[in-house]
Assembly symmetry: D4
Amino acid sequence: MELTVYLAGQIHDNWRSELKNKAKQMELPIHFVGPMENHDRSDNIGQEIKGEQPSAIFKDEAASEINNLRTQVLLNKSDVVIALFGENYKQWNSAMDAGTAIALQKPLILIRPESLHHPLKEIANKAQVVVETEEQALKALSYIFETN
Amino acid sequence: MELTVYLAGQIHDNWRSELKNKAKQMELPIHFVGPMENHDRSDNIGQEIKGEQPSAIFKDEAASEINNLRTQVLLNKSDVVIALFGENYKQWNSAMDAGTAIALQKPLILIRPESLHHPLKEIANKAQVVVETEEQALKALSYIFETN
Amino acid sequence: MELTVYLAGQIHDNWRSELKNKAKQMELPIHFVGPMENHDRSDNIGQEIKGEQPSAIFKDEAASEINNLRTQVLLNKSDVVIALFGENYKQWNSAMDAGTAIALQKPLILIRPESLHHPLKEIANKAQVVVETEEQALKALSYIFETN
Amino acid sequence: MELTVYLAGQIHDNWRSELKNKAKQMELPIHFVGPMENHDRSDNIGQEIKGEQPSAIFKDEAASEINNLRTQVLLNKSDVVIALFGENYKQWNSAMDAGTAIALQKPLILIRPESLHHPLKEIANKAQVVVETEEQALKALSYIFETN
Amino acid sequence: MELTVYLAGQIHDNWRSELKNKAKQMELPIHFVGPMENHDRSDNIGQEIKGEQPSAIFKDEAASEINNLRTQVLLNKSDVVIALFGENYKQWNSAMDAGTAIALQKPLILIRPESLHHPLKEIANKAQVVVETEEQALKALSYIFETN
Amino acid sequence: MELTVYLAGQIHDNWRSELKNKAKQMELPIHFVGPMENHDRSDNIGQEIKGEQPSAIFKDEAASEINNLRTQVLLNKSDVVIALFGENYKQWNSAMDAGTAIALQKPLILIRPESLHHPLKEIANKAQVVVETEEQALKALSYIFETN
Amino acid sequence: MELTVYLAGQIHDNWRSELKNKAKQMELPIHFVGPMENHDRSDNIGQEIKGEQPSAIFKDEAASEINNLRTQVLLNKSDVVIALFGENYKQWNSAMDAGTAIALQKPLILIRPESLHHPLKEIANKAQVVVETEEQALKALSYIFETN
Amino acid sequence: MELTVYLAGQIHDNWRSELKNKAKQMELPIHFVGPMENHDRSDNIGQEIKGEQPSAIFKDEAASEINNLRTQVLLNKSDVVIALFGENYKQWNSAMDAGTAIALQKPLILIRPESLHHPLKEIANKAQVVVETEEQALKALSYIFETN
């Protein structure tokens, strides 16, 4: 049995590649997917494909067309969603993805620093698992495959 | 025909009562519901019902149990969801509610200042309607009832 | 028992008001809903609510935001969808509404002139009932309420 | 990860084979499916299987039985739907397929010439991505597979 | 609380009116719906609405368009489905309605003479309740409303 | 707005009537439904309706046919499910009802003595709210209706 | 692409093995599944697994437990359902399977002799394809795989 | 065709490994999954991953977060659920899993000693198959794969 896990959350540091490396070391049969992590490419992809837009708002709208296509296709393919929240960004799309996953009855693992417990309390309550580090999230995933 | 509309979003100013007043003036047959707007009551409701909790995190978890009960019941009853985002708060629960509404195929009206277009671009793209003011949102709702 | 029936299709003549009048004469307990029939208002509603847009395409996109909000809310409330197709217009939104109704397992009544049978054959095959006149559609609806 | 993409839309030119060729050059792991593109075979398949029919309408009904079987099976298997609209045909079945895809929460990519923006505005608003060329649609699909 | 109950099954005797009379005597808050019980009207309704058809098969197809419209609308409105099977008729549409009700998670009450237990065993196993008389079915419905 | 709340759980004491009385005093617009609370009637209803059965197992099967009909109809009508677990009974049907409610995305309020926290930990984790007394459950329900 | 096709219908002659042989000759990538075709085994499987039952009715109930397990598992795995009806049997389970397939939005191919058109008219109207022979059904399935 | 079967129920003896061994001897193409069977690990997994908790209740809540993640992921992947109930344990989570499986339209096989027929009667009635031994459950699964 293999699992597909969508990695929602901020794209401003390399937490995904660290998590994937650790998963590889643990030999977990997991295929990780997620959003475009190249921030510039993510912001510009709309204009790159659809051409120049009349304003910053329309540039954003064009970019999010393509980014949401990617998210919807990959989220539909996933068995579990991990959402990581950090101190510095708004990450409203991550919270929306979390809500979508829950409504589709896909379990959510929330990773967040303890300092963010208050603003994330409603998402934490809806998440199946709440942890503080990527390592803890991987241990929870690893537990799914454990046999006696 | 009557509609039920859930008002997601920040609970730090009185935008909901202003919106409801305008809707009353426009004589729209809409029943508005939403989260607890008394911020202290919302934060303390868990301990008030479940008793003292061992830490701030568990106090938050207890509060969000009750707040999410309210949200889930009222969201299930709603035909449309309005989510308002402002400059000052994280509002991750509003973004999660938006994601839930969309996954349940309930149309979302997003109200946000133009200055927030970039961090809200993915939610804006998923929303059925994006506007900047409560008045615009009401005009969109009013249009549903218009006859020739 | 009352039914709500959505009247999809062209907004260029007064077929809806004729159909509603006949239904009133037949004393059918049906509440009819449908798109905005004032063509100019339908085309301009986006700019009226959201302000001037940078081009005709963006004006159309703004209008369809609001028009689709209306359609989604009213379609969700409906028990049956009637779609009327005529000779003169593209009516792609009517065909999309028909597809949506069918996927949501709401029965579709298709009204079309015999001359259009070829281009409408796939929709006709998916429709629960195919007729040529509004009167026939009303007879089919009336039959739902008949007792012996 | 592989994707299955349904190519809805007109069957009167060879846009599908061009799109598939480009996808092969781009080495995209996509399996394309779609309607019967041989127009005569599509129109006659009902009589070929079910025998002669009493009129042109019943011939069409017989053909659409078989064509819709094909569409429903392949659409159920698909992760994404592309719908291409051109200037010359009614393409109501493509619009119905678009509506079905959206109601089933499968993302839609709409390809259409700018000249058709007005009659397609409601479908464009429901589509996840709107572009003008097959190449742009493929770039959007390609973006789903991109890693950093 | 009121319930709507669909009465599937043969339309060749007056079991429905007897059942409704008993329910009225028991003062059950139940609204009963069901197919057209006038057999001739049921068989001819297609031609009455759609005009003369080219053969007996097409006459049947036209009639079942309208009959299935009625069934789908009323089944969607129902909380419980009762299906009665007797010795003399094929009643395949009743069995199809039973399968539809079960797949839609609406409970089925099967009424059948003991002599039919063998050919009805798979439906009996899927039914929530299996009885032999209309009176037993009404007692089961009555039990839903009982308080201590 | 009114809510319907299903009261799952043991039928061996009068917790439901106490809860309903308190709700009446609090003037909550809630319609409570639940299983047959007369234990003997619940055990015998199968034989009463279907006649004598060949063994105790078949008597139980007949009873549960009718009891599950009641549960399924009333659960489908409910907005919230409360499940109360006590020390003395197996209450496996209550746990099954809890699982059904959660899978149907209806929020669950679990009432249980602290002493049962260990065997109920998985249900507690799935429940939206976990409390120890009926009064606490009513406070949580009351909170849904509170306005500022 | 491979398809799984469930062969519902009578188990009293060898129509399934003939159909499978023809499909093999046509080299269709289809995996056929269906009910137990050994009639005695199908009738006795309940007692074989669960032990002797107190009456013919309970023997039938035990058998249908196991037969319906098989049907539900295989139907869930299927992309298309074929139901064949013949002159000689009641085949109510086939009609129930047809209703289930349609409600689950899986396309149904109905095979029936023309002589049965009247009692099967409602199922025929709900079926995606109606034919008279297994060969015609296979041609319809083959058409799904055809490329130009 | 392969099946995935989730083995719900008590984790206090080795019934699962016995069942898996017999399935291997019978050469059934079934992949069995289930909960963590190491009781201590199951109880402690929350603290192992999330750190020490403030009380036994919070330790249980932490453990069930992780255990329910495992269950939800594996249940979503399963075609059939087997639930075994024994004399000695409360097994409320097994009953909840049974309710979840049924609501998701996955067939349930219930294994229970005859002595437990009374408290399990509602689950037995909802189960597709009720047997007393693991061997009987395997025979029922084996029957799905049988060909003539």
